[in-house]
Structure formats: structure tokens, C-alpha cells
């Protein structure tokens, strides 16, 4: 199952003068299926207690089968640290849902408390993930202070506080909302949509600029404005998708059969297109503007339509198999991502990389002595 060919899509890279080292993913769908199903089964029968071990094996599989310049990546996370983190996250979730069940206000209050500790949790989680990733036995590192993370996520916290202070909308009068009231109702959604690109861009910048590979620092030049541009286009795709979905629903009244086929199709089609566009563009933007040690560049040539096509087929197949083809889908995505990624090194990569030394001390934070929180940002 291990296909070792490395299709460098297109091959024509902007800086063709530089020798490139393509990434490749050597994992196989049938091999990963066995790993996935056995770990899923063990996670279910242990009521989730095994799931951190499953997660570590999954990450080790995907890191370990990702190669560049004849070496693979490694993941070293300690399942026990992840288990502790999950227990704490679960308690926080229970606290939040319990509180919001009593009243939305209390729920929002808990959310604010969570928002205040969020920067610390994010820093912690990024440090844990970086430290537990290595290439050629050299670890990655991430280090950022609370206020630095706060600088990236403050709009979210500000918003949580604002909605807490905002008066609750009153529906006492039995009449449909006026246009102004509709705006107030949809304001939170709109605010999230407008703030999200900032947060995502700022977090990506923070993550790269505060990371290093061994002693070699990583830096990113992409601006937050560039993230905004790409999100606005993605939102436009999403809006078209919603309009088409509404059309499909309306079709049900007149031509039920076609409407019935159109709804899930439109949902998956636009879902895949939206995600494909967003993921490919953010990945390209991030990698193509990232430099290692001021000399080594990354080249990512992900094509939105290719990724969207992969996503669409994945979604359809996963839906029809009730999730059983997830491993196959995950391997497909990993293989594509690796196939369009390369390292562009000005000089001989091997000798350059060999010169990069290990950072000697690792803080307790990095080692996840306390806990790792899995925030998928």
C-alpha cells in the first residue's frame, strides 16, 4: 500500500532556481483502517479513556508517514497528559452546559471566565504540540506570553463580554421582529464572521513567529489583511451555497424528487467547496510566507478545486458508509497535502539542516507536565 511516488503537482515553482525537496505521505488507507477501527473500538469500550492513546497513535501515524529529504516527522505526545487535559475540558464543558441550562446569562458568565483563561490554554496547547513534534530528533518549540496570545484573541473575549452586557432581546410582544430587530438578532453571527479572519490570521502569525525548529526560528510574513481577503471570498462561496440550499428546499414543494436529491448534494457540494477553498488558501498563504532560519522557504501549491474535489468525494463516501471510510478519506487528504508541499533550500538542505542544533532546555509547559488542551484552532 505504500506508494512512494511523490507527485510534485505542476512542478513549476515560482523560485525554480532553488532545489526543492518535496514532502510525501507514505501512509496507506487499508493499513490505517486497521489502526483506526481497533483504536476506535478500544476507545468506545473504555468509555473514552483510551481515546488519548488512540489520538497519539493517529498523530504518530500521520507524522511518521510524512517524509521530506529522506527523513520522517515524529510525534511524541504523552497520552496521560492528554487524558488529564480532556478530563479538565470535559469538566469545563459540563460547567458551561449546566450553567446555561439554568439561564443563558449564567452560561455566558462561565463563557467569559473560559475566555479569560483561553489565551493561557492556547499558549499551553501550542507549546505542547510543538515540543512533541520532531524531525531528525530535533524538536519544535513554541513560546508566547499570555498578553501576546491575548493580542490575537482579544476580539473574541471582547465580543463575549459585549453580548453578556447587551440587554436580552425581549419577545414579549406577539409580533414578528422588525427589520431592526432582525439585525440585532443576527448581529452576533455577523460579528463572529467578521472577527474570525482576524483571530485566525493573528493566531497563525503568532504560532509561526513564536515557533522554532531546534534553535532555528520560524517567521511568517503574511498579513492579517491577506487572511481577510481569502475569508471574504470563502464567505461569498458560503452565501451562494446557502442561497442554492434555499432554492433546493423551495423546489421540494414543486418537484419533490429533484429537491430531495438536490438538498444533500448542494449541502455537501458547497460544504466541500467552502472548506476546500478556505483550507487550500490558508495553507498556501501560511506556508508560502513562512521562512525557517531566514533561509529555508516552504512552497505549497494547493489548488482549491483539487482539494474541494477530494473533500466532496470524501464527504459523499463518508456519508454513504456512515463514517467507515474516514481512514481512507484522511489518508487521501494527507497524501494530497504532502504532494503539493516542498522545502525550497537555497543551498544543500542536508548540510544546512544538520547545522541546526537542539534547543537545550524544555520548560515544563512544553513537556505538558500539567496538561495538554486540544484546541483545534
Amino acid at each position: 500500500m505504500n506508494e512512494s511516488k511523490s507527485p510534485m503537482a505542476g512542478g513549476a515553482l515560482p523560485e525554480a532556481a532553488q532545489p526543492t525537496h518535496p514532502f510525501r505521505f507514505t501512509g496507506g488507507a487499508s493499513e490505517y483502517f486497521g489502526i483506526w477501527i481497533v483504536n476506535l473500538f478500544l476507545s468506545i469500550v473504555t468509555l473514552g479513556i483510551y481515546s488519548p492513546w488512540a489520538k497519539v497513535r493517529k498523530l504518530r501515524y500521520f507524522y511518521g508517514h510524512t517524509w521530506v529529504a529522506d527523513s520522517n516527522f515524529e510525534y511524541h505526545g504523552n497520552p496521560v497528559a492528554i487524558l488529564k487535559g480532556r478530563v479538565i475540558a470535559l469538566l469545563a464543558l459540563a460547567l458551561y452546559s449546566g450553567a446555561s441550562y439554568y439561564s443563558p446569562k449564567t452560561g455566558q458568565g462561565v463563557l467569559i471566565v473560559l475566555a479569560v483563561v483561553a489565551p493561557w490554554l492556547i499558549a499551553r496547547s501550542m507549546a505542547f504540540n510543538a515540543f512533541n513534534s520532531s524531525y531528525r530528533e530535533i524538536r519544535f518549540h513554541f513560546k508566547a506570553r499570555y498578553q501576546e496570545v491575548l493580542g490575537a484573541v482579544w476580539p473574541f473575549i471582547a465580543m463575549a463580554v459585549a453580548f453578556f452586557l447587551l440587554p436580552q432581546f425581549n419577545f414579549e410582544e406577539k409580533r414578528p421582529p422588525t427589520p431592526v430587530e432582525w439585525v440585532v438578532i443576527f448581529l452576533p453571527l455577523l460579528a463572529v464572521a467578521l472577527i474570525y479572519p482576524y483571530i485566525l490570521g493573528a493566531i497563525k502569525r503568532l504560532q509561526v513567529n513564536h515557533s522554532s525548529y531546534g534553535r532555528a526560528p520560524l517567521s511568517i510574513s503574511a498579513s492579517i489583511g491577506q487572511f481577510y481577503r481569502l475569508y471574504l471570498i470563502a464567505y461569498a462561496i458560503g452565501l451562494v451555497g446557502i442561497l442554492v440550499l434555499i432554492l433546493a428546499v423551495m423546489m421540494l414543494v414543486f418537484i419533490p424528487v429533484i429537491g430531495w436529491l438536490a438538498i444533500p448534494f448542494a449541502y455537501l457540494f458547497f460544504g466541500a467547496w467552502y472548506m476546500g477553498y478556505l483550507r487550500s488558501r490558508t495553507t498556501n498563504l501560511t506556508f508560502n510566507s513562512t521562512t525557517l532560519d531566514g533561509r529555508i522557504k516552504f512552497v505549497s501549491n494547493m489548488l482549491p478545486m483539487s482539494l474541494a474535489k477530494i473533500y466532496f468525494v470524501n464527504l459523499v463516501v463518508i456519508s454513504f458508509t456512515l463514517g467507515l471510510m474516514i481512514p481512507w478519506a484522511a489518508v487521501r487528504v494527507a497524501r494530497y497535502r504532502a504532494s503539493v508541499l516542498a522545502l525550497a533550500a537555497g543551498s544543500d538542505l542536508d548540510s544546512f539542516v544538520a547545522a541546526i542544533g537542539q534547543q537545550v532546555t524544555a520548560t515544563g509547559e512544553e513537556m505538558g507536565e500539567f496538561f495538554d488542551v486540544d484546541l483545534s484552532l
Binding site: V38, Y61, P256, A330
Partner: protein, 356 residues
Amino acid sequence: MATTVTTIKADYYDGKSSRRQQVTLAVADRSVTVRGDDVEFVVSVTDVRISPRLGGMPRRMEFPGGGAALTQDHGAVDIAFAHSARSTLAHRLESHRGVIVVALILTIGLCWSGYRYGVPWAAREVAALLPAGLEAELAEESLKAIDGFVFRPSKLGAPRRTALARSFAELRSASGLPDSVRLEFRDGNWVGANALALPGGVVVMTDQLVEVVTDERQVIAVLAHELGHIRHRHSLRYVLQDSMTALLAMAIYGDASAVAGIAATVPTTLLHAQYSQNFEREADSYAFELLKKTGRSPRELGLALRALDQAGAKKNEADNSPEAAARKEKRSHDFGYLSTHPATQDRIQAAEDAAR
């Protein structure tokens, strides 16, 4: 003592720089000799940490000093470092065809029974634990919300209302439900002919229901059905089941990335419809008993269902979730029709049977 020497070819990294060099590990007796162009050292076999085997990735042998050697020669590693046999346990399970098949079958079985029995059971238990006061608060909140978004004040004549309220009170006292259970009249707006049982014991009936179901006795049968929803705390269980299913789906599918999350919504939507059908049946059988108890015929409910069905009601008479009412417009006319139409026939039949 004759010692066998196992040799392993590997890539060595000293852990201080990312330089790679070829080494040969000679494992004999209790010691390992690592030898390469620029490196040579001896360590005890038990001091070498072997990474658990996983898929086709190289095996990592970590030395006390921080260096590590990587090799694809799994066979030699397993022989040389027999003390860490545990490192291959997970791999043996994950690559064993029989284990994979058994895990697959059991996982499907567990997911199915968890959805079929586990989630409804857990929701019932949790609902029973929650105090009624909370539910009542939830009812007021949701009524207010639906009033704002959908309903208009009822245009039903006062005599009609009084008559229905009287019959409702009679049903309620026969059902043994608390006095706080009450009936509200509303203009259904685009929701059309409908009756809802909100958590905490508020039954909302739309004017359009009386227009579609012209026989008063049949309207009362519908109200009995709604009392069934209240008796079994369906709205609350519905919300609980919904969030439990979503949580479980996330736990299982979430592993696969956010994209799989999109796919996960498709099966969850289907599960949704299944659960509500079960609730309808439960409320029906409650209504049959209550109707008989108050000297009425279960047949009335069947007739009401037929009237609603024939009127092409958007969805059938009872949707117990307040959110569902708000979502209704987005959902299809025919979604309800297709998924509940055969069920409606069954329910009418069940009413006929109960009347016998």
C-alpha cells in the same frame, strides 16, 4: 555461553544536531554497540527505549544520552530488544486481520445499540433527574421565543376556546398531570395546523388545527396526544437525545477532522427523524388510554391524523421540539411527508386497533 549477535542497520541522530549518519547496532548478550563513522558507544539493552511499532513507520531506538537510531528492520529490533515486547502489542492488534474484523463488527454493533437503546435510555434517566422547575422555565422561554418568531395571537372565538379548554381540563385531571399543565391558543402563521407540547407542560394549539380538524372530538384526541408528550417529558428528552447524539457523533467522527464533521450531520439528521417517530408512537398509545378512560374512542385520533395528512399539513400534528418549529420553514414539506407518511398510516391503524 554462546551469544548470538543481532546486527541492525539504522540512521543515527545524536539529538544535538539534525545531522544523519549510518550506524550499525550490534546487540549481543545484554549490551548494544552503536558504531558509525563519527560515533561509537556501548549501552545496556534495557536502557534503550523502543518506540511502539506503528504502521510502516521506522522504529525508533532512543539512547540514554538523547540520541536515537531509526530503522525499518522490525524483525531484528523485536529479536534484539525482546524485553520491550509490549511495544508491539498495539501494532499486533492493529494489523491482525481477525482483530480488525471483530473490532469492526463490534464497533458497528455498539454504535447501533448505543443509538437505538443507549441514548434514549440515558435521556430518560437524565430527564427524570432534572427538577420540574427547570423545565417550566424552559417552557416559558421557548413559548416567548416562538411567539416572537412565528405565532400571532389566536383569532379563535371565545366560545370555541372555552369549550376546548374545558375538555382539556377534563383530560388533564383524568391524566393525573399537575394543574400547571395548560393550554394556549395561537395563530400558527406559516407553521399552519399544529399542536406543540412544550417542556414543563404547556400545550400550544394553532387556529389552523381547528380549521383542518373540523370535528371537536378529534381536536380533543390531538390534545390527548400532546398530554402524552408532556407525560413522557418528550421535549426535554428530545433536546437531551439531540445533544447526546451530537456529542457522540463528534467523539467518533471528530477524530477525522472538521471536514468529516460536515458529513456527520447527514446521519445525525436521519437519527433525529427516527427518534421523533418513536416519541409520536409513545404519545399515541398514551392518548389511546386517556381517551378510553374519559369515555372517548381512540379512533378519533386516527381520524384527526387522517384529516391532517389529507390537508397536506406541513408536518404531522405534533412536533415536540420548540426549535423544530422554528426550523420548520427550512425543512421541507415533503421531508415530513416522506418520512412520516407510512408511519401515519401505521398510527391510524394503531388507533383503529386500540378502538376495538
